[in-house]
Structure formats: C-alpha cells, structure tokens
C-alpha cells in the first residue's frame, strides 16, 4: 500500500509540477552569484507595485549582473496557495517574501537558516523586527517592512466632547468611547465611539490581549490566549459593542471603502499605519488642521500589533548564493524604503527614521518611535493551523453567542492539538 501511495504521490507531484515555479538555474561559482532564481512576493500588488519591484530588481541587477530574478506576484490572501503548490510540486521558490507568522511553521523545513547573527542585525533593524525572523535562535528571514496597528483618534471630536487626552487604560478607553458615541433619536448609530471592526478581528484582539498583559502562547509553546489577562482583551471588545454600545455589528467591516475614522463616523479606532495614505487621499484637511492623533493601546502595558513582510530563502533552493544576495538586497535600506513608501508601511531599517518619507508620514513616525511596544503574532510551528480559527471565536463573543471566556476556551481546546504542528 505504501508503494502504491508513493507512486500516486510521485505522479501527483509530477502532474502538479507543470504549473510550479521554475527551478533555479546553476550554482553560484566562485564569489559572484549567478543564474536564475524565482521570487514570490505578496506585497508588490497592481501595476504600481510591479513598477516598484521592477525598479528594485533593476538596481539588484546592477549589483549582480549575472543573476536573473523571475518574480511571481500575488497577495497575502493567495500567498499560501502559491506556497502549497510550489511545495507539493517540489519546486519551492528560491526567495519568498512572507508574513511574520509564517516563519516558525516554515523554519528549517521550507526556509533556510540565513546564518546571520541576531545581535548584529539588531544594529540595522529594530530588535523586535529582527526577532520576527528568528526561530530557535537561528535567523530565517530579514525584515523588509512592518505593518503596525495602534490607536487613532480624532482630536476635533475629542475636544468637542471635552476629552483632553487619549485613553491610558481600558477603563478610560471604554469611558471615552461611551462619551464619543452618537446615536440619533431612533437609536441608530451615527458615530462610533471606538471602531474595532475595520481591522481584522484577530489582530484587534491580539493587540488588546497584549495590552492586558496576556500572551498568545507560553514560552514553551502552550496555548495562553485564554488566560485571564488574555480574556480581558476580548472582554473589552465585547463590552464596547454589547454593553457600552459604542459600536454596532455591521456598522463597518474590514475592507470597507468608507473608513469611519476618516468620514467622521468614528472618534477612535484601532487602525493600520497605512491609513495615513488614505487620509491624505480622501481628506487631507484632517492632516492640515491637525485633527488626527495617535496613541498606543495601553492597560497593563502599552501594545502595538506588529505585522510585516520578511525576506527569506528556500532550504531546498539550488542557487543559494544568488538567493541570499536577493534576500539581503530586499531587506536593504533602499528596497525597504521603496516597498514601504508604496504601501504606506513602516520601513524595517532603523536608519530610515531620518528619511523624508518617515518624517512626512506621522503614522509611520509614530510607529517607529514606539517599536518597544510592538508585539507579533505566531511564534509556534502550528500557528498557521489555527490562525484562521480566531475570527469565528471572536465573532461568537461579539455576537453574544458565547461569553469571551467560553469562546476562547473552546478555541484553545481546538488549538491545543494543532499548535505543536504536525
């Protein structure tokens, strides 16, 4: 039976190999990398993104004229499909741009140890950004750019409500949200006191969990997102919606084109750093009149959500010198700045703090000056197995189907068997 299974797998691999990425061509000889390598990227989307990457690859070719890069464009929603098919076909991409949560599940299996020193890298990048690419003490990926989520508020609406400063605790946050909420005579919500629905619910919950002093996992990899502190994070979300009625389910959603904090329909929000570009495009007067403020969500400790894109190379790649050269190039200051500017993100390279891009973008500047409060999700090999299960559990609490503790306990039970990674 095993022989038959192996035969079928072999045929399947052969069949699926038709659509996979091209194999690396040739080994680097001597000191200079050469040959063809494949790159999968989820961040250079659309024609603008493609143009930015092409410019960067042209610069890379000037440094390494004998290396040819074949980019494969995708987005984060489709990245796993690309990776799955490439792995099944046995033709993994030489260089992969991945999210932070991807590193522990892939470390040592799909991703190669880059053989770099964490302490040395921390001189170039923020230590928290470096840690995102480290697993079991080995560096598997270099940070390119970061996606931060933090508190955003409307100074003008705060002033109108007589509130002088952003919240410093969960209790203050709830109080502010209640006072800032506006409903019409029929009870219909006109302005949300605090918008926690425009951002991915998992990322909102994680930010609140960290601020409440909780953690996703214990240092030895056990589930911890249902600990009493962690539950407080979800309780805050639930209280804002169900008790304080500072927001209604359905009032807004992830990906909505009308963003409440920009359109005066929310006074506070937990938002992404790239909202700055949206404000510039939709209502630049809010920036000109200094109506937008930022704050780090704080209770037991300050916490910002740190997502991001990392450059890594395949453990099974046949042209590692060229792949490593591209990984280093994509995580360099110039490439990091280009990628970040295109998406309104935070460059991972610390020296870019003095760049005009960072100076002119208040959200990016704020994020870079608060990197000590940054927390990243994942951290265990089985993270990708449970990552998508958070949304339903969180929603069941927000909808009142379960208490926050019940929802998280159920999720923890479901996750416990999977976090070790099969």
């Amino acid at each position: 039976m095993r022989t038959a299974a192996a035969a079928v797998l072999a045929v399947a691999v052969l069949a699926s190999g038709c659509g996979g990425p091209a194999p690396s061509s040739g080994q680097g000889t001597g000191g200079e990398p050469q040959g063809e390598i494949s790159l999968v990227t989820p961040i250079f989307e659309g024609s603008d993104g493609q143009r930015v990457l092409e410019e960067q690859l042209a610069a890379f070719r000037k440094q390494y004229p004998k290396v040819r890069v074949r980019p494969d464009y995708t987005n984060y929603a489709k990245l796993n499909e690309k990776l799955t098919t490439s792995m099944v076909s046995g033709r993994a991409y030489d260089v992969m741009l991945l999210g932070i949560g991807w590193v522990p599940p892939f470390a040592g299996r799909l991703l190669a140890d880059l053989g770099m020193d964490r302490a040395e890298l921390a001189k170039t990048y923020s230590p928290r950004a470096v840690d995102a690419g480290v697993h079991d003490g080995k560096v598997y990926a270099l940070p390119v750019m970061l996606d931060m989520r933090f508190g955003i508020y409307r100074k003008d609406l705060f002033a109108a409500a007589g509130i002088t400063a952003p919240p410093r605790t969960f209790a203050e946050l709830r109080d502010h949200a209640r006072r800032l909420t506006v409903r019409d005579a029929s009870g219909k919500l006109q302005r949300a006191g605090m918008d926690v629905l425009s951002t991915d619910p998992r990322q909102v919950y994680e930010t609140l969990l960290w601020a409440a002093g909780g953690d996703l996992f214990t240092p030895d990899g056990k589930v911890a997102f249902n600990s009493p502190n962690a539950v407080r994070g979800l309780e805050l979300m639930t209280d804002l919606i169900r008790t304080d009625r500072a927001l209604d389910i359905g009032f807004t959603k992830v990906g909505d084109t009308s963003i409440p904090i920009i359109t005066d329909r929310a006074a506070m929000a937990l938002g992404h750093n790239n909202l700055w570009l949206e404000i510039q495009a939709q209502r630049p007067e809010l920036i000109a009149q200094d109506k937008i403020g930022t704050f780090v969500i704080t209770d037991e400790r300050p916490a910002m959500f740190q997502g991001g894109t990392l450059a890594s190379m395949s453990a099974s790649g046949k042209n590692k010198p060229a792949a490593l050269a591209l990984v280093k190039f994509l995580a360099s200051a110039d490439a990091s700045l280009a990628a970040s500017s295109q998406r309104g993100n935070v460059p991972a390279v610390r020296s870019l703090e003095s760049s005009s891009y960072v100076k002119e973008n208040a959200f990016v500047r704020f994020a870079m000056s608060n990197m000590d409060s940054a927390f990243s999700e994942g951290g265990v090999p089985g993270w990708l197995n449970i990552r998508n299960d958070f949304k339903a559990a969180i929603e069941s609490a927000l909808l009142g189907q379960k208490s926050p503790k019940e929802a998280l306990d159920e999720l923890a039970a479901r996750a416990a068997t999977q976090v070790s990674g099969r």
Partner: protein
C-alpha cells in the same frame, strides 16, 4: 473461397484502421481526462488515508484517522449542515421560480426574447461581479434593502454580518443567479411538448390550469429531474458566492460550507490529507445523490419512452 478470405482480410484491415483513427481522435480527450481528473481523483483518495507532510514530502499510512478527525471537528460538521441547508433552499425554490418563469415566457408576448435574455443574464455574468453588486445592496447603512425597509419604518439587519441573516442572504443571491439556466432547460422542454396535446385538451374544454397540471407538468418531469440533479451537484459545490459575500466562513462560521473548509484545510493550514478526506466525503455525498437521482431519472425516462 479465396475471394471471401481476401474480403474478410480487407474488412479487418479497414476495421483496424478505423480503430486507430478512433483511438487517435479520442486520445486528446482521454489524456486530458486522465491528467486533470483521473490522477487528481486517485491521488485525493490515496492522500485521504495518509498523513502527508507537505514540508517534509513524507507520507504515512493512517487508515481512517483523517476521517475520524474531520468528523470530530465541529466546524466541519457545521459546514456539512450549512451545505445541506443551502442546497435544501436554493434547489427547489430556484426550480419552482424557473419553471414558472419558463411557462410565462413560453407564450407569445412582446419583447419575449429580451425577457428571456434578462433572466439568463445572471448565469453568464461573473459571480464575483454579481456578489459585489449584491454586497452593496445588502450594505446595512446605505444599501438598497435597508433603504426600502426604512421607508416602511423597519430597521433592516446587517445582512451579511448577522449570523441569523448571512446564510439567507447568500441563498437569495444563489437563487437569483441560478434561475436563468434552469429556465432555459425548462423552456427547451416546454417547446418539445407536442402542440396536438393542447389542441386535444382545448377540444375537450380543458381549462388553463387543468392543461398545466395534466399536460405540461407531467411532461416536464424528465427535465425536472435533470435540473434537480445538476442543481444539487452545483449546490454542494458552492464556493465563490459564499467566499465573496461572507469571507472567512461568515460571521461566527455561520456560512462556512464544505468546499470552503476543504480550501481552508489545503491552502490555509497546508493540511492536504485533511482536505483530501473532506473531499472524499463531499464526493460521497455527490455520488449518493447522483445515484439516487439517476435511478429516479432512469425510471422516468423509460416510462416516457414506453
């Protein structure tokens, strides 16, 4: 005698030649089917009984463990239930509406072709485009449905964000999208009913409803069974409109369906073995439905032809 043998030889040669031509002409289709359907189907069945580590490229025989695991998963069981609910409501409702529309559009009337085209249009329009338009109509704040409800003093729900309404909303879109092709099949069936039957009924003084229930409906039976089978299979395979209207399984997994869970297992969790076991279960559902329906259809066909 020799002449007879020669003729037989010539016939055999001709026969071999014909077979070669037939094989040659069939080859592209056979290769295509084996490559794109045969191998994946066999692989899926084998993988369903293995624990395949996509990273290491290793596989271990685990028997029915994958099946035991998926049936102990509440979300997978919920997805089966949601698929059944979705099928139960979309198939019969859309069939009834399609049959009524087909009968109405089978009579002579002005702009009949335009009406037919209008009903058929959703079927040929991209599901993504349809789903996006409906998303706007379902939008709780500025959407069409809640605006209409507001005019009569009713506050509409957050259709796609409320677990009590999300599946209903998906079903409504699917019914609307599915009417066109069913109507087309019914129209073809209606036009194949001999006119003489209606003329004879007229002579006997049969009323319109009597003619519908005694002639039209019985003679639409084979078409009805065909539409039923195809619609059931289609409904069990629903993915795109659910995925776009209610991403990530909908609010609190209220609209997650079997195909979405298979997709999640394979591409969200890199768990090809679980996805294969789930696919085999879906295959089982479809096989049982097809066999039942085929038997019913077969009986009906033989009845009609006799």
């Amino acid at each position: 005698m020799t002449a007879v043998l020669e003729r037989r030889k010539a016939l055999r040669r001709k026969d071999r030649g014909r077979r070669r031509v037939a094989a040659l002409m069939l080859a592209p289709a056979v290769i295509h089917l084996v490559w794109w359907i045969g191998i994946p189907v066999v692989s899926t069945f084998v993988l369903a009984f293995l624990q395949y580590d996509i990273f290491a490229g290793t596989a271990e025989w685990v028997g029915f463990d994958n099946f035991a695991r998926i049936f102990s998963d509440d979300v997978w069981n919920a997805s089966i239930w949601h698929t059944l609910v979705y099928t139960f409501f979309t198939v019969p409702v859309a069939m009834v509406i399609a049959a009524v529309v087909a009968v109405l559009l089978n009579v002579k009337m002005r702009a009949r072709a335009w009406y037919r085209a209008a009903f058929f249009l959703p079927h040929v329009t991209a599901t993504v485009a349809i789903a996006l338009v409906w998303m706007w109509m379902f939008e709780p704040r500025i959407g069409l449905f809640n605006a209409l409800l507001e005019m009569v003093g009713v506050t509409g729900p957050a259709w796609l964000a409320d677990p009590d309404w999300a599946m209903t909303s998906v079903i409504v879109v699917s019914i609307w999208k599915g009417i066109g092709v069913k109507m087309l099949i019914y129209l073809a069936a209606l036009q194949s009913i001999p006119h003489e039957l209606y003329e004879a009924a007229d002579l006997d003084g049969a009323s319109g409803p009597r003619k519908f229930f005694s002639i039209t409906l019985p003679l639409l039976k084979p078409a009805t069974f065909f539409v039923f089978v195809v619609s059931m299979i289609d409904a069990f395979q629903v993915f795109d409109q659910v995925y776009i209207l209610t991403p990530d399984g909908g609010p609190a997994n209220s609209t997650t369906v079997m195909t979405y869970e298979i997709y999640q297992a394979a591409f969200g969790r890199f768990d090809i073995s679980t996805a294969s076991a789930q696919s085999v279960v879906l295959f089982g559902f479809l096989m049982v439905l097809t066999v039942i329906s085929r038997r019913l259809t077969g009986k009906d066909d033989s009845h009609v032809s006799s």
